[in-house]
């Protein structure tokens, strides 16, 4: 479990990073917090030609409040998000989720850009972005583009990010006064990837978005559940039951801890629990 040989670069500006990424011959791989990449390299499942360590790129840091949005630099670490007053005030769903992301030692290193860029199907943050309708700012030498979360995640460890592109920011809308959020996950041990988890956002117009993680090849929304829940101001017991029954539009995939049937069952349980917690808020 030792990584194969690689070159190492530690640029300090976005433009230097992009120049490295644009050079195909270097076979670059970005190193953010390294919490997934380093084990993959040590298992020799990843063998980059050049490791581009972006931890010294100061343009990628910082949590900034704008008029309508919160902009989070791609290299902001989980721990910084968890402790941020701006996040607590304006992105409460992010604050709810973070204590469940692995363990404190991992959160000290792991970054939001790294998590989004990896697109692990069991990670919490992609689901958060889906229900918040977040956007990902992606930069390359060709320019800057904003990709909505709903088209960004393509599959297991697969996103719309091209090899010459760098995730520079995550942009989340600020919470409106009457907006409500729900979150629940079930893991065998605290800090493990969840057997199933759900993030829910209810907008002021009662439009509801529901995204599950740990159940399919990527974080995935249930349109059937969203349709059923949208427009209802009262999350009645019956409505919650109906929502559970409607959860049939996801292709559930099993893993080591639970087969597809167990995933679907537990997804219904986390949906129920998250909705009940929202109701009792």
């Amino acid at each position: 479990m030792k990584a194969p040989d690689f070159s190492y670069e530690k640029p300090t500006t976005i433009s230097d990073v992009l120049a490295l990424l644009a050079n195909n011959e270097l076979e670059c791989q970005l190193l953010a917090g390294g919490q997934s990449l380093m084990p993959m390299m040590n298992f020799r499942m990843a063998s980059p030609g050049t490791l581009v360590d972006i931890s010294n790129v100061s343009e990628l840091s910082g949590i900034n409040e704008r008029d309508e949005t919160i902009e989070i630099g791609a290299m902001v670490r989980y721990r910084e998000l968890e402790l941020s007053e701006i996040i607590k005030a304006h992105c409460p769903l992010v604050a709810m989720v973070l204590p469940y992301v692995a363990h404190a030692a991992i959160r000290n290193r792991g970054t939001i850009g790294g998590s989004i860029g990896l697109s692990d199907p069991a990670a919490e943050l992609p689901a958060v972005l889906l229900v918040l309708d977040g956007k990902i700012e992606i930069t390359s030498e060709k320019g800057i583009r904003l990709e909505p979360a709903r088209t960004f995640f393509k599959g297991i460890y697969e996103t719309s990010c091209e090899p010459d592109e760098l995730i520079t920011k995550i942009i989340l809308p600020k919470k409106h006064l009457k907006q409500k959020f729900g979150f629940h996950e079930i893991a065998r041990r605290h800090g493990d990837y969840a057997m199933a988890g759900v993030c829910i956002a209810q907008d002021i117009d009662l439009k509801v978005r529901v995204a599950f993680f740990g159940v399919a090849d990527r974080a995935v929304r249930s349109i059937a559940v969203e349709k059923l829940l949208s427009g209802n101001s009262d999350l009645s017991e019956q409505l919650i039951k109906d929502a559970q029954n409607a959860l049939n539009d996801i292709e559930f995939e099993g893993d080591m801890n639970a087969g597809p049937e167990a995933k679907q069952h537990i997804a219904k349980v986390v949906l129920e629990r998250a909705l009940k917690e929202m109701k009792n808020e």
Binding site: M1, K2, A3, P4, D5, P39, F43, R44, I186, R188, R189, H190, G191, D192, Y193, M195, M256, N257, A258, G259, E261, A262, H265, I266, V269
Partner: protein, 792 residues
């Protein structure tokens, strides 16, 4: 002085007290000396190429490209290594019929498990060695993997060893009375269950590691290793590498946990020693976590078809079972892979009185990692078979699980006695332990809470286990069967010129605090302050000969030897002091480093001053007085094959019937390990053991696919119990000293692991009772719970 029994005729200064471990401060500062920390001049690294297949013929190995890579010193294939080693066979004569073919350190013609080493690269660094592995071309011919234990015995199963007629390694039957007839009686209620126990492993924080150094001028091989039985390994290296034992030195410095994992013969470690001898330079091998998962021995993996018969009043008539266990492709050398099954046959039902017993064990070859002795060998299975069947029978006849135990547990005044299978017991206390358990857990309050909770749709359960634990083994465990495993241990105590004690012992320290209790015993019995006792263990060049630490023998056997040696030195010192002081030895004593008057406690002379007279100014002594100021004593258990410990435990669990998650709300353990030398160390041993038992019951499982590929060989996927999920574990003691020693200590290392799984399975099935279902498979995962509930 009339003899060592007078040791306890005074209040003790250290024995029985929670004295902090003297090595804790060093270890916590990161100053441990673990094998992987070692850097020797000219040291190279052994990096193993391992079979990616569970079963494959090796047609050819091409090392030519790999040899050209930077840093590569040499590459040896299985065939190369085989020329320098006498193969080993994991059988013992007291397990008649056990068969296993000769095994080489590396696979020679056929690889028989995923992870079996097939070649080794000797390289300047581990990383360069792993690069070289990618350039070794092996022509494998994939063979059908035999993975399922039951299918492995079917007549059309592929043979793992062509020279055998089947994949059966061993079969043993124990029959007492006539179970079939007894269970056929009208007034007997018979309960039958199939119980499955997952395969798991002991995950040590420090992985297996060795540095082997061959010193050509001396012809000496030094093996530094992270292990538990240095003298056993000394014998094995000498025998199989064709050396004299005195030319092999095995050293175990600090060891980061072992749990029985590190007491076996591993091919990669033997090959490392061979290569050091061939290259005449130091070679290091440190298993990484992936290698650990696929090469460290696994344990359990049992399929048990069990039945029990009880009368309506709860009297156990008899019990029986058929056990099938998969052990991998070989029986592990030298302890064999049949001991776990043998323990199950011997120990099932051992706390109880009953007449009829019929047990059959099948030990089966399969293409998975080798299975062998891991903490609480066989106990979790044996205790679960009897205690889970007893509680199931109690449910069927409508009896309280405590009442049925009261009725059948061997009475505390029945000792010495024998179990149904002939195990010899003395100084046990099942009823006293159960009493204490009920007292500390408040059983009645829990029952009331259970009823109330059920009304709210919350399912809590209470489960018990009464257990025995094999400790302090005599030569009847291994030595009798021809294994090079000492059952006696030695201790040396030496007084230096400054009045400090230097003690050494053949038992070893793996993190559990053995060294600390040896210091406590020596300081207490001899009479010095514990800060002035320096301890050495783990080095065959300096410590007395002995077996090391396994089967809960460190305190009971190593501790007794230390007591005897300390007492012997004390007598010698008092004889010398009496001459110097012109007093009678029986009027003198030693206390905190001073010779004192026994009655008045008046200080007479310090040990340092006495030692200086002996060592420097012997002219002041009479010519016929020749004090040595050093004493060695050895001890082995002679009266019994083993000294059994007993205990009673209970688990309180809550089953989330929606998610299938099981939460352990509280765990209680009452243990009778005889004299408790250090309460904190014993309590934490028991807690640690319980946590490993919880691992087996709820979390840990080596998951294999049908091709024999382990699916979860990483710390992300193989779930060990973690602090967040662990309950409060309350520990209490009943102290019935064993009469086999002066110290009176029995072992305490394995009870938690042996008992917890049964208590938890009982608690879960107690919780599920009103839902008319049960779960009989460990680990009890959420998915299995949901299936048992019919939710999926």
């Amino acid at each position: 002085m009339t003899g060592p029994a007078t040791v306890f005729d005074k209040p003790t200064d250290y024995i029985g007290k929670s004295i902090p471990r003297s090595d804790a401060a060093r270890l916590l500062r990161g100053k441990g000396r673990y094998v992987d920390d070692m850097q020797l001049p000219r040291m190279v690294h052994a990096v193993f190429l391992r079979s990616p297949y569970a079963h494959a013929k090796i047609n050819a190995i091409d090392i030519s490209q790999a040899m050209k890579l930077p840093g590569v010193v040499a590459i040896y294939t299985g065939k190369d290594i085989a020329q320098h080693v006498e193969p080993y066979v994991g059988v013992l004569s007291h397990l008649p019929g056990l068969r296993s073919p000769a095994q080489y350190p590396l696979a020679v013609d056929v690889a028989r498990w995923q992870g079996e080493p097939v070649a080794v690269v000797i390289c300047a660094s581990r990383a360069l060695g792993e690069d070289a592995l990618e350039h070794i071309r092996v022509d494998y011919e994939k063979l059908t993997a035999v993975t399922d234990t039951l299918n492995a015995l079917s007549p059309d199963a592929p043979l793992i060893h062509e020279e055998y007629d089947s994949n059966l390694a061993w079969k043993r039957q124990v029959e007492v009375g006539n179970l079939e007839e007894a269970l056929a009686q009208d007034d007997v209620v018979v309960v039958e269950k199939q119980i499955k126990f997952g395969r798991h492993t002991g995950v040590t924080l420090e992985t297996r590691a060795t540095v082997c150094d061959y010193i050509p001028g001396d012809g000496q091989l030094i093996m530094y290793y992270a292990g538990q039985a240095p003298h056993m390994l000394q014998f094995i290296l000498a025998k199989h590498l064709d050396m004299l034992e005195e030319n092999v030195r095995v050293v175990a410095h600090d060891v980061g946990g072992s749990f029985g994992i590190k007491v076996h013969t591993y091919g990669d470690e033997i090959a490392t020693a061979i290569v050091a001898k061939l290259l005449k330079r130091p070679v290091k091998f440190t298993a990484d976590r992936l290698e650990s998962f696929v090469t460290d021995i696994h344990a359990r993996d049992h399929f048990v078809d069990a039945k029990i018969g009880v009368k309506k009043d709860g009297t156990i008539v008899g019990m029986g079972f058929n056990d099938f266990t998969g052990i991998g492709p070989f029986s592990m050398y030298p302890r064999t892979s049949a001991i776990e099954c043998n323990q199950i046959l011997n120990l099932t039902g051992a706390p109880y009185q009953f007449e009829h017993y019929h047990a059959v064990g099948h030990v089966v070859f399969q293409n998975k990692t080798l299975m062998c002795q891991y903490r609480a060998v066989g106990h979790p299975i044996a205790m679960a078979i009897s205690d889970c069947m007893i509680e199931e029978a109690a449910r069927v006849i409508g009896m309280d699980p405590v009442k049925i135990r009261r009725k059948n547990l061997i009475p505390d005044d029945a000792y010495p006695t024998k179990s149904t299978t002939g195990m010899r017991f003395d100084d046990l206390s099942h009823h006293a332990c159960l009493d204490k358990l009920l007292e500390i857990m408040d059983y009645d309050a829990l029952l009331e809470d259970q009823q109330n909770a059920r009304g709210n749709g919350i399912y809590r359960g209470i489960g018990f286990v009464s257990l025995v634990e094999v400790t302090n083994p005599s030569p009847m465990f291994y030595g009798v069967g021809g294994a090079p495993i000492a059952s006696q241990d030695g201790a040396t105590v030496r007084l230096d010129a400054a009045g400090a004690l230097h003690i050494s012992s053949s038992v070893t320290e793996q993190g559990q605090g053995t060294n600390a209790i040896l210091q406590q015993i020596a300081a207490d019995v001899f009479g010095v302050s514990i800060e002035r006792v320096k301890v050495t263990t783990g080095d065959t060049a300096t410590v007395p000969y002995g077996g090391g630490t396994w089967a809960s023998r460190g305190a009971g056997i190593g501790g007794e030897a230390m007591l005897l040696a300390s007492h012997a030195l004390k007598e010698q010192v008092l004889d010398t002091a009496a001459v110097i002081l012109q007093a009678k030895p029986e009027d003198l004593d030693i206390a905190f480093g001073e010779i004192v008057n026994k009655g008045s406690r008046e200080r007479k002379i310090s040990l340092g001053d006495l030692a200086k007279i002996v060592y420097y100014r012997g002219n002041e002594l009479p010519h016929d007085l020749k004090p040595e100021l050093i004493a060695t004593r050895h001890y082995r258990v002679t009266d019994f094959p083993f000294v059994f410990t007993n205990g009673a435990m209970a688990a309180h669990v809550e089953v989330d019937t929606n998610t299938g998650l099981i939460k352990i709300l509280h765990f209680w353990a009452v243990e009778d390990c005889g004299r408790v030398i250090n309460p904190q160390l014993v309590d934490d041993q028991i807690r640690g053991g319980v946590v490993q038992g919880i691992g087996g019951a709820l979390y840990e499982e080596c998951v294999y696919d049908s091709d024999g590929q382990m699916q979860n060989a990483s710390m992300a996927d193989y779930l060990v119990p973690m602090a967040s999920e662990m309950p409060e574990i309350t520990v209490a003691h009943v102290e019935t000293y064993t009469k086999t020693s002066v110290l009176g200590a029995k072992g305490a290392g394995e009870a938690g692991t042996g008992g917890a799984p049964a208590a938890i399975m009982n608690a879960v099935n107690n919780a599920l009772e009103p839902l008319n279902c049960g779960l009989w498979q460990m680990p009890m995962t959420p998915e299995r719970v949901l299936k048992a509930l019919g939710k999926i």
